[in-house]
Amino acid sequence: MATDEEFKLMYGLIASIKSFVARLSPMELKEGFQSFGTDKYRLHFYESPTSIKFLMTSDLAAVSLKDLLMQIYLIYTETVCRNVLVPARGRMIDSQMFITRLETLVQQSPHFASKS
């Protein structure tokens, strides 16, 4: 599947789950949809108040990656948002600093080590 198609599909999936989850809930949701699991993997979701969406797949051992995704948001603001040369939204992130810091963060995460 083309990456482009995959993005669209994922966007649709997230949008649908979000609205579905909100409609099923008898009460006002605070966090809303956070992750779903299959027998092989888990998909984690975090949305900043500014509607930037962060997604990550993991093995089943990682129950919640919300903190990790929030830290990624922090890196994003520091390396991408603060760079005035990058358009604010809607572009592929090609900042080397972002990638390096992201890799370091994820590899240091306890969830990363639990693989072995």
């Binding site: 669209k8 108040p49 500014t50 509607s51 994003y76 603001t77 520091e78 948002c81 603060r82």
Partner: protein, 181 residues
């Protein structure tokens, strides 16, 4: 005691507030040279502020771990807080409309970015603080709040305070791209 709230920022990553004020003044002067009409300058300043706000809000939320606001009063507090973080001292929040959808940010006897400004009489339509309005509007738009902002009082034009009036328009909904479902 008089310097309270104006302590110099010793953090290496931050710049002195006076430097910002002087730079902004120079920038306004240059835009005025380029565009000539104060009305056009106001538009440019609003745009400038908007672009600042759109990015600044990400920084603010990510670093201070700000949860979503539940009502407009909380929003007002957050805006106030943001001013403290990024401009060094905060405005007062007041003059709430009875309906609760309109408030003012007030800086008594000062303009937060206009310490070194003297206004010539022929430029009275120039809105020096427009950049602040733009920044607030841009920031709030990113968190799905649409506001309209007017400058109610301007210290630089002889008023007792600088007052920005912020009116809640509507909540913006997450729009799906066209053709997606």
């Amino acid at each position: 005691m008089s310097a309270k709230g104006k302590a110099p920022l010793l953090d290496n990553n931050k710049v002195n507030a006076d430097l910002i004020k002087l730079t902004y003044g120079a920038l306004v002067a240059q835009i005025l040279k380029d565009y000539e009409k104060p009305e056009d300058v106001n538009k440019q300043l609003e745009k400038l502020g908007y672009n600042i706000g759109v990015r600044l809000v990400e920084d603010f939320i990510a670093h201070h771990n700000i949860p979503r606001c539940l009502d407009f009063r909380q929003t007002a507090e957050r805006v106030q807080q943001a001013f403290r973080f990024y401009l060094g001292f905060q405005p007062a929040v007041g003059n709430w409309a009875p309906t609760g959808n309109e408030f003012s940010l007030i800086w008594d006897n000062t303009n937060p970015i206009g310490d070194f400004v003297e206004f010539p009489d022929n430029l009275r339509t120039l809105q020096y603080s427009r950049v602040l309005c733009g920044a607030i509007r841009g920031g709030l738009e990113m968190v799905q709040i649409d506001v309209a902002i007017t400058i109610a009082k301007e210290f630089l034009l002889g008023d007792q305070a600088t007052e920005l009036r912020i009116r809640f328009n509507k909540r913006l909904e997450d729009a799906l791209p066209i053709g997606e479902d």
